[in-house]
């Protein structure tokens, strides 16, 4: 009877030990599976991070290429649009999934993030240069429109009794050009344009006054001045061409780095 009791107790004890071992084993296996699964999952996420980044940078570059090389009539506006949207989008390019962000303490992964940040910095530099160039070209287009308008109105009113009006057209061009937005790149050209356009208006004013006074000497002087003042306008375009060349050089230089 006692023997039976002891036997039963041993069996029960063995069973309890066996169950505990099984549970420990199962938890160990589960933990191992989680660790291995987690390892492969994070490896996959990091791989995706790298692939996705390369794709994003490639796509960003091809978007800018497409905008620059397009034959669209609104080409400058398209380039500006791409430049603005990429400047915003690129800010998030190197962000790491919060699940694996803690792993950046490992140099293998922090190197990937650092490489991305370096790439991002180069691309951001390119976008800044591109923004400066497109900003300049936009301002230059506005100046060209102002001058073109004054030129058209002059051509349409080139009779002696309209010379006072022509002076007013060029004065308006001075006012409009003065209102153009100043930027580091554009201010020098704007100042030159305002100065030379003012000289133009002054010369037409002198011609008009000499005509009204029927003063031949003053008229001939003003006529000579007029012949001399028109070529001065080329100073504006020459300076602008140099400025654009310099800005293009910057864009090319930063483009080659991305």
């Amino acid at each position: 009877m006692l023997i039976d009791k002891i036997k039963n107790h041993r069996i029960a004890s063995n069973l309890r030990n066996h169950r505990r071992t099984t549970i420990i084993l199962m938890f160990s296996l589960l933990f191992l599976a989680l660790v291995i699964g987690g390892y492969f999952l994070s490896k996959q996420i990091w791989n995706d991070y790298e692939i996705s980044l390369n794709q994003r940078f490639d796509s960003a570059k091809s978007d800018t290429d497409e905008a620059i090389l397009s034959n669209s009539t609104d080409k400058l506006a398209n380039i500006v649009q791409v430049q603005v949207s990429l400047t915003e989008a690129i800010k998030t390019y190197c962000e790491v999934n919060s699940l694996i962000k803690w792993q950046t303490i490992i140099s293998q992964y922090s190197d990937k993030v650092e490489a991305c940040e370096q790439k991002k910095e180069l691309f951001s530099g390119f976008l800044v240069d591109l923004g400066e160039l497109t900003g300049y070209l936009k301002a230059e287009q506005q100046l060209a429109t102002i001058i073109s308008l004054a030129k058209t109105k002059t051509d349409e009113n080139n009779q002696a009794d309209k010379w006072a009006e022509i002076e007013a057209f060029w004065r308006q061009a001075v006012t409009d050009a003065s209102k153009l937005t100043d930027t580091d790149q554009f201010t020098a050209i704007k100042t030159l344009a305002v100065t030379n356009l003012a000289k133009m208006a002054d010369t037409w004013q002198k011609l008009s006054s000499a005509n009204l006074a029927e003063n031949r000497q003053q008229y001939e002087e003003a006529h000579t001045n007029l012949d001399q003042i028109y070529p001065l306008l080329t100073e504006i375009s020459t300076s602008s061409e140099l400025q654009v060349k310099s800005l293009i050089k910057d864009v090319n230089s930063s483009y080659e780095k991305i």
């Binding site: 001058i147 030129k151 029927e214 006529h223 012949d227 028109y230 293009i248 864009v251 090319n252």
Partner: protein, 250 residues
């Protein structure tokens, strides 16, 4: 023999490396050139400004009336000889080219006519100048530089414009690029063109060379301004003191 093979192999390797390097550079240059050309094409200001030219002003009525009166007075005082050169106040001239001319001939003719008839120019003699197809009182020539010299080597040179007989010859090189002295002084090409037409026509009208009267003064149009301004300010138009013509008897 082994050394020779080694040398050949090394040369090939270096050449190969050189070729790769050259190709890589070419691709890079092509890309940047493409970007540059695309952005340069977006510039609108140079196109707008190059289309703006100094307007051709029509003389106001009061000035035209003064000029007409001067013409009438000049006709009244002309000698028999000059009457042949001036018909009803009009001096005719024909225009031609010599040698290989690359300058815009239509522009040359237009600007020469404008210069001759400008109220600041020789029209102040009380005459107007009219281009005719042939048989003008003088012949205005736009000439290749060497042809100026070939025309009359003892008087004319390939460097400058020239006037001999009834030929008023404008040197194409000067027409296209003015002269060193003129450009150094900041003179404009358009003014140089006025000056050279007026200067050579001035010879035909009977003028010799003049000199600068003093530093800061306007140069006489008959001064050799192409060569040296002698301290004078450049001036494309005849001074009051130069408004006479032995040829026309004015």
């Amino acid at each position: 023999m082994r050394l020779k093979i080694f040398a050949i192999l090394m040369t090939e390797l270096l050449l190969g490396a050189g070729l790769i390097s050259v190709n890589a550079q070419t691709v890079s240059k092509d890309t940047t050139a493409t970007i540059s050309s695309n952005f340069e094409a977006l510039q609108s200001l140079p196109g707008v400004i190059s289309s703006i030219k100094s307007p051709e002003l029509t003389n106001p009525d009061w000035l035209q009336a003064e000029l007409d009166a001067e013409i009438a007075a000049a006709i009244a005082s002309q000698s028999n000889y000059s009457v042949r050169l001036v018909n009803n106040g009009v001096v005719t001239y024909d225009v031609t080219t010599w040698g290989s001319v690359v300058a815009d001939f239509a522009e040359f003719r237009a600007l020469a006519n404008q210069t001759l008839n400008d109220s600041r120019g020789w029209s102040r003699l009380g005459v107007s100048f009219q281009e005719v197809a042939s048989g003008g009182s003088f012949t205005l020539v736009l000439s290749e530089a060497n042809e100026v010299y070939n025309f009359y080597p003892s008087v004319c040179s390939a460097d400058w414009s020239c006037q001999v007989g009834h030929y008023v010859v404008i040197n194409q090189d000067r027409w296209l690029g003015a002269s060193y002295a003129w450009n150094q002084s900041g003179g404009l090409l358009r003014d140089y063109r006025h000056m050279v037409v007026n200067h050579e026509t001035g010879h035909w009208l009977g003028h010799g060379h003049l000199y600068c009267s003093g530093p800061g003064q306007s140069a006489p149009v008959m001064q050799q301004q192409s060569i040296d301004l002698q301290g004078c300010n450049f001036n494309p138009w005849p001074l009051n003191s130069e408004i006479w013509s032995s040829k026309l008897g004015i």
